[in-house]
């Protein structure tokens, strides 16, 4: 029993209660809760590092009657990324929301969202994931609506409805699995699931629900307006963390408990949708007129990359080759988490100073915000996948595996996506540097600019140079729990 697992869910929840009860002190209480939640995640990561995968049963009941929480190396890494990005967003939000009323509304919803993220990463029970998805969807939609204004409200209402459709579809799949096997625990299900009509239908429903929430092409239609119209810290959370957790759950189900159900053809289909997402998202990002819309379209592409791994990993037996690919998948997910959060925080900074985020008119504004422009550049490096960023290593391993396994066609979307990403990033940077340099302070607003810069540095240098540590965390670990 390791108390860090339940505490990783309970502490943000406790913070949400405190900030609801005392809205006048929401910022101080919220920051304390954010620090405490990050501390617990650190404890959890150290625990996984020293003892290997952890599991905690809840309520004194073991599965199948009770619910358990589980954390392996991959989950620990994702939780650590979530905590770092969330901490940066928490600090940034204090400088971003000028209206104290908005800040009071932001804090409890944001901590509820954080609790839902941790609960979903730790979940080891099919129905518990559904409850977590509900919490994630509702708090996410409420946060997206904080932007105010007609566009934000319309987009977040659509986000709410799509999210509900996604969770209902997922729930149908859960009902089928429970009807067929009478179990919900993922580890127990892993030993019982197999090829067959019922399990395959259930997996299709679960995947459809999660793909809607992860914005996998062609179910991504709701993402760009929602992410582009939300307040910048919320966009950062939605793009870097919320979509990521749904994609992770989908991949985890496919490669873990449902591995016996999946067929190469189905895995290829998932990879194909990912490839379409990479190309379509990157193309739309290149054509976007606004900075936040560009970032939102680029999220569709980055989510797509994760699904390219499915057809390559699906046929592999546990072994170093599989671990290397899982590590690469994880590295892509982590890098995108840091980079996209940094990008959105910087874009929000530009938008607040200029009153708009039109890419064509960026010049003067970016000139006055050197740290923010630098953040955009670094995040762009990670989005393209230039060395030494984590996504460079991830893409490299992906290409290597595609050639080794004779599935060379997966190289094409990676190359096209990388080229398009370079084009859309340089389109922004060219606008930002098109004037005479004016020697101003590098950092203009510490609290709002520094968190994004740190995240971008982590994406480019931190993950790329410290990728070995990630493998240390993964080494004894397989994805199934």
């Amino acid at each position: 029993m390791n108390a860090s697992l339940p505490l990783a869910v309970c502490l943000p929840l406790l913070g949400a209660l405190a900030t609801t009860l005392a809205p006048a002190r929401a910022r101080a209480l919220g920051l304390i809760a954010a620090l405490a939640s990050s501390g617990v995640v650190l404890w959890l990561v150290v625990g996984v590092w020293e003892q290997g995968p952890l599991r905690a049963s809840l309520g004194g009941w073991s599965a199948p009657l009770g619910i358990a929480l589980a954390a392996d190396g991959a989950v620990a890494a994702l939780l650590a990324m979530t905590a770092m990005v969330a901490l940066a967003i928490s600090i940034h939000a204090g400088g971003y929301f000028r209206d104290p009323e908005r800040l009071r509304q932001f804090w409890p919803l944001w901590l509820l969202l954080w609790a839902a993220l941790n609960a979903l990463f730790l979940a080891a029970d099919l129905f518990n994931i559904y409850v977590g998805l509900e919490l994630l969807g509702l708090s996410g939609a409420a946060l997206a609506a904080l932007g105010g204004g007609r566009a934000a409200l319309t987009a977040s209402l659509r986000y709410l409805l799509v999210g509900l459709l996604g969770s209902m579809t997922y729930l149908l799949g859960v009902a089928l699995i429970y009807a067929a096997h009478g179990q919900l625990d993922l580890a127990l299900l892993g030993t019982r699931l197999g090829p067959g009509l019922v399990d395959a239908t259930a997996l299709a429903l679960l995947s459809l629900g999660l793909a809607l929430k992860a914005a996998l092409f062609p179910l991504h239609f709701w993402l760009p307006p929602t992410h582009a119209n939300a307040p910048a810290p919320v966009s950062a959370a939605l793009s870097a963390l919320v979509g990521k957790v749904a994609a992770w759950l989908l991949l985890m189900l496919w490669l873990g408990p449902f591995a016996a159900v999946t067929q190469p053809a189905a895995a290829t289909l998932l990879g194909l949708l990912g490839a379409c997402g990479v190309i379509w998202g990157s193309w739309r990002a290149l054509r976007a007129e606004r900075l936040k819309l560009l970032a939102a379209h680029s999220t569709v592409a980055q989510i797509g990359y994760l699904f390219l791994f499915v057809p390559l990993i699906q046929g592999l037996d546990p072994g170093p080759e599989r671990t290397a690919l899982l590590g690469a998948l994880l590295l892509m997910a982590l890098t995108h988490g840091f980079a996209k959060a940094a990008f959105f925080l910087a874009a929000g900074q530009v938008q607040q100073l200029a009153g708009h985020d039109r890419i064509d008119a960026l010049g003067g504004t970016a000139q006055r915000l050197p740290a923010t422009t630098f953040t955009l550049g670094l995040a762009g490096v990670a989005l393209i996948g230039l060395p030494p960023s984590g996504s460079f290593i991830g893409k490299w391993l992906l290409l290597e595996a595609a050639i080794d396994q004779g599935q060379w066609w997966w190289i094409l979307p990676v190359l096209a996506g990388t080229l398009l990403a370079a084009a859309y990033v340089f389109r922004v940077l060219a606008r930002a540097f098109n004037q005479e340099p004016t020697p101003l302070h590098f950092v203009t607003q510490v609290r709002a600019e520094l968190p994004g810069l740190v995240l971008a540095l982590l994406a480019v240098a931190g993950l790329g140079l410290a990728a070995g540590g990630l493998w240390g965390l993964l080494e004894p670990v397989e994805i199934d729990r």
């Binding site: 309970c10 309520g59 509304q105 919803l109 509820l112 409420a142 089928l176 019922v198």
Partner: protein, 221 residues
Amino acid sequence: MNGPARLLVALLAAALGGLLLWVLATALAARPEPALAEAAFAALPLTGVGNPVTAVLLDYRAYDTLLELAVLLAALLGIWSLGPPAPAYQRAGSALRAMVAWVVPLLILTGGYLLWAGGQVPGGAFQGGALLGAAGVVLRLAGDPRAGLPGESLQRLLAVLGVGAFLLVGLTVLAFGRDLLDYPTDWSKWLILAIEGAATLAIGATLAAAYVGGRPPGEGR
């Protein structure tokens, strides 16, 4: 959408529904062993409650219920962040007022009964809370702008009561080295009743406040 397209969508939806029903029937027909119901009944004496549904919601899968209550809180906070509510209906006429004066206390009483009865027979926090919420809806329909809810700070307290009681009990037992929400057997019945009582109030207040549909008066000053 025009006629033929609508018909096509309806046909496709019906076909999909039929397919799912067929798969469900296959799953039920081929089920190798009974579901968890037997295990749930067998462990019932350890939970201190006699109603298996309550045991599932408040003991075996209490963590799910904790998160569900957090979902309710998120929904209410989301509604509050959208601005002030629409104005209330006009004050009820004397006949409706007389009926409301009867119905509301009855709803509250029945809600309390359902909460207590939930330990042994069907009932519990969600049912009791739904009746309390209904009392609030009736009051609002009869012209009470606040739907019988207290002022802002008390409303906030009511909204977090369910999750709060859960976390208080859960983290206390965790501090004593047990699992989260692993109630000591001797105390189990009373801890469950306390959590359910808090959850009933929270659910009732949340539903009523959601029906009012905007932030409580006094916020944002």
